[in-house]
Structures are given as structure tokens and as C-alpha cells.
Symmetry: C2
Subunit: 548 residues, 2 copies
């Protein structure tokens, strides 16, 4: 029996339309690509997004066409999320941090028709253009309508908008049409395109707007949020959608992630909640500690991407009175966990709360998570067992652009190894490809690395598996020492031994000058394993020998 409710699709355009209708005067404050401050509102942004939609149509952009963006967190970029997706075209948010070859690959692979750039990304565009012949033109976004001199024939974004009015009705699209494409740059293979739908975007934004998202989540303009996390990466952790949906004040830091610039705009605009990776929080805390400056309005620090060190949580919570909330997601799965502490824990002593904050949140409504062993058999959610993390639901990728996604029985294989707790808490233990399989049991390379980082002489640490004739693999710790400090392999092993099960203790330690890194700042373990592939462990810390 069919139900009889109105057939109304879930559309990205409806978020900004709603914002303009009921909190049209709520402010958006953005640092421009040039470094200035720009003030606008949801009402004005909605008007400009409609004018953009008309301008794109005039340029010949058709529903389904891809429009690229090479931009940081600016008001122009925000307009693209609505003007492009809302019109039925597809926004491809290009990560300007990728290597040139990767950028060329994804622009051509996504078949971008037009690309919007700004002062920060024009040099990249100029390099890409000769190798991306499918791109019909480049649009330059700046508060100044006059584009700079360039090897490209730039169209002016402001001039395009000035030629249009806001008399435009958003088209009623199929909600399963594409809204935004974002490529993941794994450590192996070519980048893979995640094609979000209008439906998945709206559902994710709703899930992330529930009171459960974060303890004490406030309504409307009482919360002023700032995505420091780039908009080209998970849409600024979905804040480009959740902020207008809920009517939060919105502050955009532009391309400046330097702590002084971040602090300046956060303090001036009384930001209450900001989101970024631990590294940026660490720089900000360090800056505040050095200068004695504070952020009295900031009440919540959202963190994801990598597990924050305990010291960062202590600094934010205890020195600065800012609540830390950790969530987990990936480009393939946005809005998967929520941060509010589980029942009973919100009023528990600090030590217990920190233990929870070191984990990656609790599974949010609409997504199902499970862990499985190597044979794909489900494992218990007991907070002890760990296995390959899999996800299923309307927010989870079903396929990559022109390529299959790694599905097993309808579940996405996230590539992470995790523990799941009875209350839905997720604890990421390692990457599946980095876990070390020793005698049928798993060793978390991340856990051993974190322990090694606790030694004062260790600047960087990576743990990889090396071949062992009996145990299949044994862990090797690869360390970059701090320039002014020294430590021996035996000392490090002795340091680690009391911190973990004896069979987790690395077989040996190799010292190197530098670790190979990816474009997004992660250790490139594939290269590292290649570097040490001829090593074999035979037991005992002196059993390590360079082969060949």
C-alpha cells in the first residue's frame, strides 16, 4: 500500500532557500582569497546563488555538467555549493593540495566543463590548463570584478553575476541526481570520485543537525560555526549545509590557516564552534599559549581526520575551557558518527570523559556499522575485539565515478580497522592495510606509533610489518629522531615494552632522516614498506637484518 504524502524531493537548493526565508539576515563573515574580510548574509547569498545559476545557464552549463572549484573557505566558494548544485549541475570540489598529475587526472576524469578559481589557486589553474583540454573556461572569483593578468582568458565571476537578476526558481530535480563530486586521494592507485546525491547531502545535514551531534548543541544564531576544515574536503565537514539549515552564524577563514589569522577572526566574530584536524588545533593552542590570548566565546572544538593526542584534549579542555568532540567520517561516508557523550558519561569525571573523547564518536542514525574478520565474518561489538570496519546506509558511497567501490555483501569496506562498543562508540585502531598480522593476531601500527611518539627524542614514527618466517609479519618501528636528541633502538624498545602486550613490541627500530609523505600530509607507508621490503625478522631485537 503506497502512502499518500506529497512527492517532494530532498534538494540542496532548499537549504539555502530555507535559510534566506527565515534567517535571511544572519551573518556570514569570510576572509577573502586576497586576505580581506567580507560580510554577507544568507539572504544575499541566496540571491547571488540564484544569479550564479542563471549565469551558468547562460554559459551553456546544462544539468549534470560538472563545474569545478579550486578554492578555499570563502563566501564565493559557499555560493558555488548552492548555485552550481541547485541549478542541477554538479560541483566538483578540487583539492588544490594534490600533486599536479593528480589534479590533471581528476579534472579530466570528472570532465569538468568550467572551473572557478581565485587568487590563491590561479597559479595552479595556469599549470593545469594546457593539460585539461576539456575545460571550456576559467572563472575568476574575487570581490574585485577585474581579473588579474593571466595566461588564461579569465571570466570575471562578479561580472557574470552582475549581468543577472535573482528572479529564478530552483529546478525540482530528482533527489538521486549528483550534487557534489569529491575525489579521495588514497595512498595507492588513482584518486577516486565520490558522487554525492542531493538526497545523501540533505540526509547527512539533517543527521548532523540533531541535538545529539554535540553536547549542548545550541539552536540557530546562538551558535556561530567555523569550518576550518577545507570546503573541498567533505564540504567543510558538511558545515556548508548544516549552518544555513540551522541558521547558525557562519565564519569562513579563507585560505589562511595560520594560527594568528585564525585566532583573529575567531575572536572578532565570537565563533562558538570550529572544526579542523588535530594539527591545526595544536598550532592554535600553541599560539594562544605563547601569546596569552584566549577565545572566550569558543565552546566546542570539533576534531576528526586523525586521532587527537591526549595532550591536545587536555590543553583545549583544561587550559582553555573548550570542549573537544571527536567524530569520524570519510569522503565516502559523511555524517557517520555523532559526538554527544553517551548516557551517563556527560557528568562523569574528566578522566572518563577524555577516554571517550579519544574515540571517534558514536554511530549516528541512518548508518549501520559493523566489524568483520579477514574472512568477512561479523565480529562482536564488545569494545575489545577489532576488525575491518564496514558501513552501510543512505550516506555511504555505493560506487566511485566510473569505477566500483570496495563493497562486500552491500557493505562499504572503509579500509579502517576499528573496535565497536555496545553503545555505538567507534574506536579506529588502524588502517586495514597498515595493521600488522603476527601469528594470526593483529597489531595496530597506529597504537605502537602513538606510544613511540611519547618518547621525547622521537620526532616522527611509523610502524610497518616485515616478513617473519614463523609469525608471517612482525612490526618494525621506523623513527625520525629530533635534531637535538638521541635515543638507541634498545632504549626505545625498553620504553615501549611496559606500554603494550609483549608480542606488540617492535622487532627492531630503524632510524631514518625523513619519512615519505603523501600530498595530504600522511606517512606514505606503501613507499616505506617498499624501502624495507627486503628485511626479514627472525625473532629477537637483533634478529633484524637487511637482506640483499
Amino acid at each position: 500500500m503506497q502512502g499518500l504524502m506529497m512527492d517532494a524531493p530532498l534538494l540542496v537548493s532548499s537549504v539555502l532557500e530555507h535559510a534566506a526565508r527565515i534567517h535571511g539576515t544572519t551573518e556570514i563573515v569570510a576572509r577573502t582569497a586576497e586576505g580581506g574580510i567580507h560580510r554577507t548574509t544568507y539572504g544575499e547569498t541566496h540571491d547571488r546563488a540564484k544569479r550564479l545559476a542563471k549565469a551558468l545557464a547562460r554559459l551553456g552549463v546544462k544539468p549534470g555538467d560538472r563545474v569545478g572549484s579550486l578554492a578555499w573557505n570563502t563566501h564565493h566558494h559557499l555560493e558555488l555549493f548552492y548555485g552550481v548544485s541547485g541549478s542541477g549541475a554538479v560541483l566538483h570540489t578540487i583539492n588544490p593540495r594534490l600533486f599536479e598529475d593528480q589534479l590533471v587526472y581528476i579534472v579530466n576524469h570528472a570532465e569538468d566543463s568550467w572551473i572557478c578559481v581565485d587568487a590563491a589557486t590561479l597559479p595552479i589553474a595556469e599549470k593545469l590548463a594546457p593539460r585539461t583540454p576539456g575545460v571550456k573556461g576559467w572563472i575568476y572569483m574575487s570581490v574585485d570584478p577585474e581579473p588579474p593578468k593571466s595566461s588564461l582568458a579569465l571570466l570575471s565571476y562578479e561580472t557574470l553575476l552582475a549581468a543577472e537578476d535573482a528572479d529564478y526558481d530552483w529546478p525540482q530535480l530528482d533527489e538521486k541526481q549528483a550534487s557534489v563530486i569529491c575525489y579521495t586521494s588514497g595512498t595507492t592507485g588513482a584518486p577516486k570520485g565520490v558522487v554525492n546525491t542531493h538526497r545523501s547531502t540533505i540526509l547527512s545535514a539533517l543527521v548532523m543537525s540533531t541535538a545529539d551531534m554535540i553536547g549542548g548543541y545550541r539552536s540557530g544564531a546562538r551558535e556561530v560555526v567555523m569550518p576550518i576544515a577545507p570546503m573541498f574536503h567533505g564540504n567543510g565537514w558538511q558545515m556548508v549545509y548544516t549552518a544555513p539549515l540551522s541558521g547558525h552564524g557562519l565564519v569562513l577563514p579563507g585560505r589562511n590557516f595560520e594560527p594568528d589569522k585564525l585566532h583573529e577572526i575567531m575572536a572578532a566574530e565570537k565563533v562558538t564552534m570550529a572544526a579542523c584536524v588535530p594539527t591545526v588545533w595544536m598550532m592554535l593552542v600553541d599560539y594562544m599559549d605563547r601569546t596569552g590570548l584566549t577565545l572566550p566565546s569558543l565552546r566546542a572544538a570539533l576534531v576528526a581526520g586523525t586521532k587527537p593526542p591526549r595532550s591536545l584534549i587536555d590543553a583545549l579542555e583544561q587550559r582553555h575551557g573548550i570542549e573537544v568532540a571527536q567524530a569520524w567520517g570519510m569522503t565516502e561516508a559523511l555524517g557517520v558518527t555523532k559526538c554527544a557523550l553517551p548516557p551517563g558519561l556527560a557528568d562523569a569525571p574528566y578522566e572518563q570523559r577524555v577516554e571517550q573523547k579519544l574515540r571517534q564518536g558514536r554511530v549516528a542514525f541512518s548508518t549501520k556499522l559493523r566489524i568483520v574478520d579477514d574472512a568477512g565474518q561479523p565480529l562482536p561489538h564488545d569494545g575489545l575485539t577489532f576488525g575491518h570496519l564496514q558501513a552501510r546506509g543512505p550516506l555511504i558511497v555505493g560506487a566511485y565515478l566510473k569505477q566500483d567501490a570496495p563493497l562486500a555483501d552491500g557493505w562499504l569496506q572503509t579500509g579502517d580497522v576499528a573496535k565497536l562498543f555496545p553503545d555505538g562508540t567507534v574506536e579506529i585502531v588502524d588502517r586495514s592495510k597498515d595493521v600488522i598480522k603476527s601469528g594470526g593476531e593483529w597489531i595496530s601500527s597506529a597504537a605502537v606509533e602513538n606510544a613511540a611518539m611519547g618518547h621525547p627524542a622521537v620526532a616522527q614514527a611509523a610502524v610497518i610489518g616485515i616478513h617473519h618466517p614463523t609469525w608471517q609479519e612482525r612490526p618494525l618501528l621506523v623513527v625520525v629522531r629530533r635534531p637535538d636528541k638521541d635515543v638507541s633502538a634498545a632504549e626505545l624498545i625498553a620504553f615501549l615494552r611496559p606500554q603494550m602486550a609483549s608480542w606488540w613490541v617492535p622487532e627492531d627500530v630503524a632510524f631514518v632522516e625523513a619519512l615519505p609523505m603523501t600530498a595530504t600530509g600522511k606517512i606514505h607507508k606503501v613507499t616505506l614498506r617498499e624501502q624495507f621490503k627486503d628485511m626479514t625478522a627472525s625473532g629477537g631485537s637483533d634478529g633484524l637484518r637487511a637482506a640483499g
Copy 2:
């Protein structure tokens, strides 16, 4: 271009499945139909809902079949919402307060196959059975597995469940399939069936779980919610879905809406948020005032259905420290407004906040509201103009069961007259059919009635339009005096004159012994207009004369 996210339907079963998985031990406390207290959890409820789904299949219930419920707010009724809808059958929540003829009509019209009853509703079922031959059988819900003596061959709900185990996978239904049917009993014509979909139910629950729903909305089990509003009426204002979705503690008052019983369970279970119509809140406040009892845990009183009097808001907020939040919805449109105060008002002085609380909330994401004049032309959202309120979106009814809904250009005509404010605030002014049209302008009968109710001698008041040769209609005030008080027509007119525009002042006052009432406790104005249909106003308070 199609997006590439997983094709996962939004299903009612997923709410309870989620609750059982991550807050399975959170408690549900319910008063049974017999008056006792029953304690259960989301985990146990999920198990029992699955056993119910299997029991229904064993009885021959097929996807799409209607299963009726004649029940109040009990744990059994909660199980029906998931066991019936989750299995693909359709729950028809029957309002036991309807007149017998209406009950017979809706059971036959919905083609209910089985009906679940309890100690409170069995006498009704016994009367209906001879006139509802399509019903295959009656299931008796009680903690006691032995059904009582009855003219009906009752099946025992507990015995049916005891025969099943919980080894059951919820079917993956089309999200546009029907989940729950609820009939509206208008004051004219036969009741009309609203057929919710799984999709509309989940979207409504998500919208109502956002932080914006109510100021200071807390996460998970820190909120203990109690729908006093009956589950057969808008699913207990959607709390049967929002509570498990968010993991709130859930308290169900059974059939007892007597203030002492309500207070007892609210105090014992530390309810933090409860929802009901103003009348019930008034009885509860009166009870607390008389006994000196308090509700220290209760922080929020949700109110809807009718505008609460100012005195109730003052009593709850100022005497009892309970925040009042008013929302608006109808069976045809659940989850339409949210209660959190608009930007800037949350910290405003009490007088300003009360003004807002006397309105019906702000439009929530996903629904569009507009007001139109008699010709269907949209009117401004300026907080001054009022017009016929229309709604559109995925939570709004598109058609009634076997009958068209009153749509105009794709908008539902709600039958209400309202003002809309620039910040999305809704102020219901009157029912469209009750508004009095005088000289081309509209007079709100509800506003005049509220003013008249302020006179100490007035027990009940109704305002209707009577024919006027020049002005088309003029208002007539019909009053029931308090038994111990007296007041004349002239005195009442003089009392009203300073409170409203001169042309809103009633033409005359008629005193009656009693007003005609509907089954749901509203004044039956159709009957009243019939009673006074031969009256004509010719201007001046003594211009009224009984015709014929």
C-alpha cells in the same frame, strides 16, 4: 547525472533497530492500561516488535494490510508502531474518543484486518465488532496473557508473542509505502484518512530531532520525554519516533491523564520534557498549585493543538520554572514548526519571549508555508497581514485515503488563517471557516473569543458571523456565563471595546446554557451557526433580532 550513493530506503524499523543497537538499555517506563507500572528498554522493545512482526505474519497479515490499534500511551502501543509498520503492514491508530458511528466508518473505510485493544478500549471494540464485519479478529494487549471474558473471541497479544522468537530481519520496503494511517475528524463531513509513508515519518522525526526543535534540547538519555498527547493523535507528536531515534528516556502515561497520576509518574521518572494540549497543562498546574507539589526535573513543556492562554505560560514559566514551547502541526502535516526562539530573543526580557511563545513556532526545514487571500494570491510574510495558510513539502499530505485532499497549485490548504513573520514565525489567527468576513476585511473569531474569555463572568465563548445587509457578515458573541456570575451584553461589549479595532467588536451577545461540542472537545460552530442562521445584524448592538 545520477549520484552514486547507496540505495538505502528510509524505514520506520531502522529507528528502533538503531535504538536497540546503541542505547538498548535506556529505559521505557509505561503505565499499563490496567494502571500498573511496566518497565522495559529499547532493546527489549525491539525484540518484542520483531516477535510481533512474526506473529502477524502467522495470522496471515500481509504487506499493506491494515492493523488497527484502539489504545492509549502504553508500551504495547509503542510495540505496534514498529512491529506493524516495520513488517510492511500499516498501523491504523484509531482515536477511541470518536463517536461510535465515526469509529465504525473509519474501521470499515481503512479496511482494518485485525485490531489490537486493551482494558481501556475493549468496551468500545465490543460495540464496534457487529458493525465491522471486515475485521478478522481482535487482539487483547495486557501484561496478563489471559484475556478477560468478552463477547469477542479475543486473541492474547502476549500468547502470540510468546510463540515467536526475535530471529527476524526487517524487510527492505519501498520508503514510499504506507506506515501509519490516522484519521482526522473535521467538524464537517466524514473523517479523512491521512496515510503517512515510511519516508515522511523518518524525515519528520529527523527534523524534530534537530537542536532547533526546542531551546536547550539535550542529547540522548539526558532528556526523558513523555508524550501525554495520545499516540493515536500524530503518534504522540512523533515522540514514538524521536525518542528512540535520539535515545531519550521515554515515559508513557497509559490512559491516565488525571493530574495526580500524571504528576506521580513525571516526578518518579524525572521527566524533563512533556507534550500535551493546554487543557492538560492547566489541570496539572492547578493540581500542583493546590497540593504544593512540584516537578523539579521538568524543564520543558511542549504545547500545541490550541493556543495556550497567557496565564498558563506565566504559571509554568514563572511559578514552576518550566519553559513553554509552542509548536504547530496537524495530522496532515507533522513536524512543521520548531520551537527554539529566533535569534536574539532567547536572552530577551520575559515579556518579549512570552509574545513569541504565544505564537506557534517557526517553520522547520523541509516544509514551505505561505498565506494567500481568497483568490489564492500570495500575501506578504510581514507579521501583520493574515491569510489562508498553505503548506508544501515531504511531510505534507498529498491526498486522503480514497479521497482528494484540498490542494491548490500543489499546496495543502490547511484550513487555518495565519500571519507569517519574516523570521518564519507562524501565528494562527483562526480557522478559515470561522473567520468573519466583514466589509471585505477579516475578523478573527478566535481573537475575539480569547478576549471575551478574559471576563470573569464568561465560562465559554464562541464568535460566529451572522448576515448583515451592508457588511456581508458581522460578529455575534455567544456566551455561557459562569453559574455564580452575571454579566449583560452591554457590559461585555464595553469590556471588549478597548481591546480591539472598533469594527471587530461583536454586533451583539447571545447568552446560552451550553455550546455544542465535537467528539474531540472543540466547539461545533457549524451547529452554532445553524442555531443562529436566521439572525440578521443591522448595525448597533441593539440591531440584532431573531428572524422568523
